[in-house]
């Protein structure tokens, strides 16, 4: 008897509709439609009074005073942010972060480091389209390391001997690098060269000849030709003098680069017109065939040499 009823109940259960997406429904009041009724369906003033600008929603723009000279235009002002949108920017990179990249083998210090290498770590990137003109190497606290409650001053804890090329830097950063027997150069890249430098593979796949690096703009010429900033246009003799001066100022003994086993690496520098280490302007690099094509036409040669 019991089995019979059980069977019936089971059959009933089997035939009952299952809970599915097709028979699910929201709770009452869960969805509230914000409807503004029209005409006889509750359409009257809707809390906006009778006629006039308030009922018609013609809001004035902020600061507009219906025909008066607006207050914000009454007095002359200093344009603090004038031309900010066209100024060159150098996104910072801390020496502490650089040290960490080196420690984590993201950067090979047996070769010269440039923006290409920094972008290749995957930890640093710039956007030339946003007026970023390269890396600003700073000696400040790394925010990445701060998150572990370790306050690490970049300049004090920097221990690597590197040959690095940056676009902007400070005196104390230069001192931190040169104290370890390293070399730093500040050099300018125009926007076109920057796009090439931060993603060389993309450029090589365009199948074009490597262009020449263009000269810096007038307002940056002194920075990049100053020996104190280790500019790439500065006189090398003046730079060696400034290296000595800085060592005296910060009170460290300047390691002799001439006696260094990595002398060749440390003194390797790019030409004014060069974008990549070891690749001259005018060369075509084909990654598929693994070949480098060089121009033979005298006109082209002359052009790329200029």
């Amino acid at each position: 008897m019991t089995s019979f009823t059980n069977k019936n109940v089971l059959n009933l259960l089997r035939n009952l509709p299952r809970l599915s997406i097709s028979n699910l429904r929201n709770n009452d009041g869960a969805v509230k439609k914000n409807k503004r009724g029209r005409a006889q369906h509750g359409g009257d003033k809707h809390g906006h009074g009778n006629k006039g600008s308030k009922a018609r929603q013609n809001f004035m723009r902020p600061g507009y005073e219906t025909g008066n000279t607006p207050f914000y235009m009454k007095f002359p002002r200093e344009q603090y942010y004038r031309d900010h949108h066209v100024k060159r920017q150098y996104p910072p990179l801390s020496l502490a972060t650089l040290q960490q990249m080196i420690d984590m083998n993201r950067i090979d210090i047996t070769k010269p480091i440039d923006l290409s290498v920094l972008c290749n770590t995957g930890l640093y990137n710039i956007k030339p389209e946003d007026k970023h003109f390269g890396v600003n190497l700073i000696d400040e606290v790394s925010f990445f390391l701060l998150s572990f409650n370790n306050i690490v001053m970049g300049a004090d804890n920097f221990k690597a001997k590197i040959n690095i090329e940056v676009q902007w830097t400070s005196e104390s950063t230069i001192a931190a690098i040169e104290r370890n027997g390293g070399v730093i150069t500040t050099s300018f890249f125009d926007v076109n060269s920057l796009f090439i430098l931060i993603n060389p593979k993309k450029f090589f796949q365009r199948g074009e000849a490597i262009p020449r690096r263009m000269i810096p703009p007038e307002d940056a010429i002194l920075y990049y030709s100053s020996a104190a900033n280790r500019g790439y246009l500065a006189d090398p003799e003046k730079i060696s003098w400034e290296r000595f001066v800085l060592a005296q100022k910060y009170g460290y003994k300047l390691p002799k680069i001439e006696d260094d086993p990595d002398y060749d690496m440390l003194v390797s520098r790019k030409d004014q017109r060069q974008i990549f280490y070891g690749l001259e302007p005018g060369w075509v690099v084909n990654l598929k065939d693994k070949v480098i094509l060089k121009p033979t036409d005298p006109q082209l040669k002359e052009f790329y040499r200029s």
Binding site: A209, E218, I221
Partner: protein, 246 residues
């Protein structure tokens, strides 16, 4: 040459007797072991399909031609299908991506003589100055700024030296002015006093008679001054003549 491939169902035995190329064009092989409708391409030794045809039949990727080429590392299109495919930019790109296999002449990578002219013209406008000229200009600007500051400082120094003299001058001038004002005041007071004496009683200075009298007095004074001046002049002249006569 020929590829033999089959999935053995009921009639596998029949197939092996002749060289055969069998490809299943049906997309969904049924799970059930039923005989499906197959397009069976049967060839004899005389009627062998070319390799291209075989490949076409065997390709089950459902990719279009261009995409299949790209997946296999080949140039997507054998012939240009879009007018963009005739541009230098596209051809360079094909060479950059696929190398010699792209059949693009690598010389396209460099600018032509016309392009060079264009580039040179652009650079002459965009970079009119050489590095040395720009350095010189920047140094000149700094120097002129320094000179302007120096000049200003020199001017301040010179003026500081003269400052005491100027202060004295101002003081003297003001003292003189005060003295003159005082004298004028006294003179006027004296006049009023005299006028009062003339009338013999206190008279309002706003009165017309008083004013008339004042004007008269002033005139007399002026006359007196003039006569005095005349006298002085005559005396001078006489002295002069005397000195000449001697």
């Amino acid at each position: 040459m020929s590829i033999i491939s089959f999935k053995g169902f009921s009639y596998a035995g029949k197939i092996v007797k002749v060289p055969i190329i069998q490809c299943f064009l049906a997309r969904n092989a049924s799970i059930k072991n039923e005989v499906q409708d197959f397009d069976i391409v049967t060839t004899t030794a005389e009627n062998v399909l070319s390799e291209k045809e075989v490949k076409a039949i065997c390709d089950k990727s459902r990719l279009n031609h261009g995409h299949r080429n790209m997946v296999n590392g080949r140039v997507p299109y054998d012939k240009p299908v879009h007018r963009y495919h005739n541009t230098v930019k596209y051809k360079r790109k094909m060479y950059g991506r696929y190398g010699d296999a792209s059949n693009v002449y690598p010389g396209l990578a460099w600018p032509t003589a016309e392009d060079l002219e264009d580039i040179r013209e652009y650079e002459s406008v965009a970079y009119p100055l050489t590095i040395q000229e720009m350095q010189q200009n920047a140094m000149n600007i700094i120097e002129s700024e320094r000179q302007a500051i120096l000049l200003n400082q020199q001017k301040i120094d010179n003026n500081m030296k003269k400052l005491n003299g100027w202060l004295n001058e101002v003081k003297e001038k003001s003292a003189k002015k005060l003295f003159e004002a005082q004298q004028a005041k006294e003179k006027k007071e004296k006049l009023i006093e005299e006028v009062k004496k003339h009338f013999g009683y206190k008279i309002d200075p706003k009165d017309d008679r008083f004013k008339e009298m004042l004007v008269k007095r002033e005139k007399e004074e002026k006359k007196k001054v003039r006569e005095e001046k005349k006298k002085v002049r005559e005396e001078k002249l006489l002295n002069y003549l005397d000195s000449k006569a001697k």
